[in-house]
């Protein structure tokens, strides 16, 4: 006769409870990391900052060392796509030895649904000091409109 030790069913909910608690702990840890760094999108390049004023939406990205010619910016149905490549500078490998290599290079592509309707004919992109700024004019119906209040006697 073979006897097997089978865990009683009462112990199962406890095990799941512990897993749940672990998962919640992990979530809290990640949430606190996100909060402390202000970065919501790890592993996505480039990170984007979005702001708006009455007429436009501004999208900014830090892209140091990227040539303006190597950037392709497109808009389709209020979705902005920033694609490009950060080229690797080629040194004479026979003659240099690296002490540190922290700067990343390669291709990137990032799409973003702009939260307001924009006018695809009035989009401007500027690149200066390693920062890309894309200014998208809001569609006329998406701009705030002042409504005059008539005083009636």
């Amino acid at each position: 006769m073979i006897l097997r030790a089978v865990p009683s069913f009462q112990s199962w909910p406890l095990a799941f409870g512990e897993l749940d608690e672990m998962r919640r702990g992990m979530e809290r840890l990640f949430a606190s990391l996100v909060e402390s760094t202000g970065l919501q999108m790890a592993g996505v390049y480039p990170a984007l900052n979005l702001s708006e004023d009455a007429e436009s939406v501004h999208v900014r990205a830090e892209l140091p060392g990227v040539k303006a010619d190597d950037l392709a910016i497109t808009i389709e149905n209020d979705t902005l796509t920033i694609a490009g490549e950060r080229a690797m500078p080629v040194e004479d490998y026979d003659q240099v030895s690296y002490h540190r290599r922290e700067r990343e290079w390669g291709k990137f592509r990032r799409s973003l649904a702009v939260p307001v309707h924009v006018d695809p004919d009035h989009i401007e992109a500027r690149y200066r000091d390693g920062i890309l700024t894309v200014t998208l004019a809001k569609a006329p119906h998406a701009r705030p409109k002042q409504i005059a209040v008539r005083a009636e006697a």
Binding site: V66, K67, Y98, K107, I131
Partner: protein, 140 residues
């Protein structure tokens, strides 16, 4: 050093998160980040490439005291335009600061720094005493 050729490899860029400096290092208001760098050396010089987006030449200071090199870059307040309301913030902005201890003797008079597209290129020529010298071996 002049502009180098660039190589396109089709590799995907693997992003790094910005490293913020914390603790007693900041003396100015606002955030300070540690710039990512490449450092390489050949017989004549040590070259430092540092990513410092938003920094202009007038906001950059490079200091070499004893054997400690300090790179310090300031960005103007409000990289965002006036009257803008922030909708999404995925990265923080601020200045940059990083120190390096140099193990070579540097010819201070010939240090060259250039800033382009948010990347600092700093060339630190080695002093004559620090350059490798070729010793002729005479056959006898």
């Amino acid at each position: 050093m002049t502009e180098k050729t660039m190589e396109r490899t089709g590799k995907e860029l693997e992003p790094r998160t910005k490293q913020e400096l914390t603790g007693a290092e900041t003396t100015r208001p606002g955030r300070t980040f540690s710039p990512t760098v490449d450092i390489f050396e050949n017989d004549d010089a040590i070259t430092v490439l540092a990513d410092m987006p938003g920094v202009r030449a007038d906001g950059l200071s490079i200091d070499l005291r004893e054997d400690v090199l300090t790179i310090d870059g300031r960005v103007e307040d409000g990289l965002e335009g006036k009257g803008e309301r922030v909708l999404v913030r995925e990265y923080e902005t601020g200045g940059y600061r990083r120190e390096f201890r140099l193990t070579n003797l540097i010819d201070r008079d010939r240090i060259d720094a250039s800033l382009r597209d948010g990347v600092l290129r700093l060339t630190l020529p080695k002093a004559d005493a620090a350059r490798p010298r070729r010793i002729e071996v005479r056959a006898r």
